[in-house]
């Protein structure tokens, strides 16, 4: 799909190595684990905790032109749903090719129904979704 996932925390790369190699739950992790101990990149994305030096649970989707296309930030104790992240990622990829369409809330993958907004659709979204 032409996408790279990078995880980031304020831990050093040494801690990442130790965690990845020690924790069996991570044995399938193949993506780069980024280290931001000074919080520079974390602050850019608004997830750095100034009072504790820890990052909030933020996910950010950046397109191949370097533009920020999606973001989700949760507090420390609320895990993100990866299926939803993948859904939003796929929708972003699809919409980058189909710039005159919209993905409704039930859209999950390519092939699902989309909307092509137009004057004819005003007040008739129900028909557009159900025909």
């Amino acid at each position: 799909m032409g996408c790279d996932v990078v995880t980031v925390s304020t831990d050093t790369k040494f801690v990442h190595l130790a965690w990845r190699e020690h924790e069996k739950e991570l044995s399938k992790v193949a993506y780069p684990m980024g280290s931001d101990p000074t919080g520079t990149v974390s602050r850019m994305f608004g997830v750095y905790g100034e009072d504790n030096g820890l990052d909030l649970r933020g996910s950010f989707i950046i397109n191949p032109e370097g533009v920020l296309m999606g973001s989700e930030v949760n507090f420390y104790n609320l895990g993100r749903n990866i299926d939803e992240l993948m859904r939003k990622f796929k929708a972003n990829v699809y919409l980058s090719r189909k710039t005159n369409e919209g993905c409704p809330s039930k859209w999950k993958d390519e092939g699902d129904k989309t909307l092509a907004p137009s004057a004819k659709m005003v007040g008739r979204v129900h028909e557009a979704l159900n025909d």
Binding site: C3, D4, V15, A18, S35, S59, S71
Partner: protein
Amino acid sequence: MSNCDCGCECGEPLKLGQKVPEFTLETYEPTKGDFGSFSLADQIAKKRWTILFFYPADFTFV
């Protein structure tokens, strides 16, 4: 925090639709078993999407 002149929005976090300033991060790469680095500039040069996934700390839960 508006003491930088790099042209980026240093005091304000990024907004959707904004071009992300180029950045690099030191990394641990499990596929190589070695340290490396990630660069947004490289991603743009290779025309690849990027998902950045921030989390609080290694060796914790959730």
